[in-house]
Symmetry: C2
Subunit: 386 residues, 2 copies
Amino acid sequence: MQASYGELRPPERVLMGPGPSDVDPRVLRAMSTPLVGHLDPAFLACMDDTMALLRTVFQTQNRFTIPVSATGSAGMEAAFVNVIEPGETAVIGVNGVFGERMCDVAGRCGARVVRVDQEWGKAIPPEAVAEALRGVRPKVVAVVHAETSTGVLQPIEEIARLARAAGALLLVDTVTSLGGVPVTVDAWGADVVYSGTQKCLSCPPGLAPITFSERALAVVRGRSRKVQSWYLDMTMIEKYWSGERVYHHTAPISMIYALREALRLIHEEGLEARFARHRRNHEALAAGLEGMGMRMFAEEAHRLASLNTVCVPEGADDAAVRKRLLEEFGIEIGGGLGPVKGKVWRVGLMGYSSKAANVLALLSALERILGRTGGVAAAAERLRAA
Amino acid sequence: MQASYGELRPPERVLMGPGPSDVDPRVLRAMSTPLVGHLDPAFLACMDDTMALLRTVFQTQNRFTIPVSATGSAGMEAAFVNVIEPGETAVIGVNGVFGERMCDVAGRCGARVVRVDQEWGKAIPPEAVAEALRGVRPKVVAVVHAETSTGVLQPIEEIARLARAAGALLLVDTVTSLGGVPVTVDAWGADVVYSGTQKCLSCPPGLAPITFSERALAVVRGRSRKVQSWYLDMTMIEKYWSGERVYHHTAPISMIYALREALRLIHEEGLEARFARHRRNHEALAAGLEGMGMRMFAEEAHRLASLNTVCVPEGADDAAVRKRLLEEFGIEIGGGLGPVKGKVWRVGLMGYSSKAANVLALLSALERILGRTGGVAAAAERLRAA
């Protein structure tokens, strides 16, 4: 063995990247509670609370609303793998990394993928979905509500109507919206909606909240062949989370302790107040960045409050600026992915990280690094007006 | 929303079931460290430490030795899904729930499954594997090193030799052995070996340590079709854990903090001392149970130190005894699964839970509940002799 490994002493950071976000100390404390067993009556009660609290943030009555025992990306996989059988058609909106990933995941399930492509930074127009639906009989229509790679918020209502008219299930990715901007599963009429814990829920990464409508569950139960993933097979997982409590895999107990506490915090704050907070800080940040002469990337009509994309200003070195932010100011922001790598910065204002103090600290740091002014003043004025 | 959700206050338990085991307070403390980002240089260093420490417990030089971002069962799925392609043959030893599960998982990957069945409570004889290998050209041979459902420790050496001679990869499930009894990946010549964190590593559930030999990695890279699971696709995950650091999914940071600390504790104790401790406490427990006139379930030559199975004594009510242990004494033990449901109890002595005090507390509680004597005395004598 190697000589020695030191005590864990990570530096202090302000997490304003695309996730994870900062975590409330109450969540960290709940997470570090000594464990009970995964079939202990006390834990089963904790599971029930978690399900009830998740239903409120998803704004759904769906009985089957649980955290998948893996990160948000596994939520995406769980959504597709349970409802798709080989040869079936999936119509997928693609305007960023996560729509692209959906195509990859669906393809691995044997789906025939029909893409609805849209320029990065813009929302997918319902007409393009309608066009794609012509002449196909899709099993699912899938869209990303909050594209973490572009900062675009996708309107769902009209696409949901089209999916229903086509007899398809609607799958929605709400990884970067749940708990920060309104996610209204029942009002949308969405069938499978998943998220991650490390964004607007402000819980450490490791779980993927997911909800299935009864219609979606009927599809899963009526499959002609087994779900290709044993670990994500909802026909079995359902029996652990429901009254039967049949062992499937050992639940990630500490993570569920953390999630329950993160959801309690949302419950205490109230959804409407939380959404307003996210919007207020987003508007202050955008005002500040524009006040410094920078340009937002996502089109104005569809900007996501929780994840802000701003164009890297001419002459600035993407990686060097982010490195200085991290090393000199302890602030993490994200770089661009794929075609916008080097071209945009991604600034998360999610959950516990969505604070006026963070907005001002970042703008102040950027003013100093970029040699610009006007950011902090513009943001402060916007915050005063709010 | 519902009126209110109280503070998380689970009861105090001594975890002596089949997992999770009790967690050292140092691990809980490390887990609750405020987060940094999953691409932060400080986190990348933490990942490197974790890989190095995992190599020491797996006793391997395999470069690709990482924790999968999900529980132990996902480790099993990751093992099969990466190396199996549809139509290929998997020879699988089945002498308990987890061998059975392997068949299910392999079948979902499209494998032709050749079972090597053995009575529960006994190890799989190499001759039966040799017999099954006759006339087939298997892609993998898979066995469970530590059957959590029966408490049987499976010798690996001879089966490894047979797998190699047949040109197959050897997959080994060490969920309930890693960190508690010797797991010698390189000495075995095993190709894919996975585990879980919540057993002998005494870390909360949520990660699946896994190691791939270069031979196995070559198979994964040479596949003719994509891995059917995007989430568990090691060709992509490899790029995040290696020098390239390409984003795949957001790592479960807090869980990896916890695992690193759990592995540090093992490093400090030393593998040999830790194995000796597990063996000593197992022997004391078996002596105590036998001293009370109870009968161990697993055959003596192949008993697992970390997971002890004992036959439910005639006249005792399985569920009622376990309920009293939990409610009156705060001790969790496990019931039987499948064909041994109601017939055996499963007592885990894993990691931080493997303590003489726990052995004595359980025996004392059982003496009182069952109205028997001789357990504590026999265990104490064995501990004195050790």
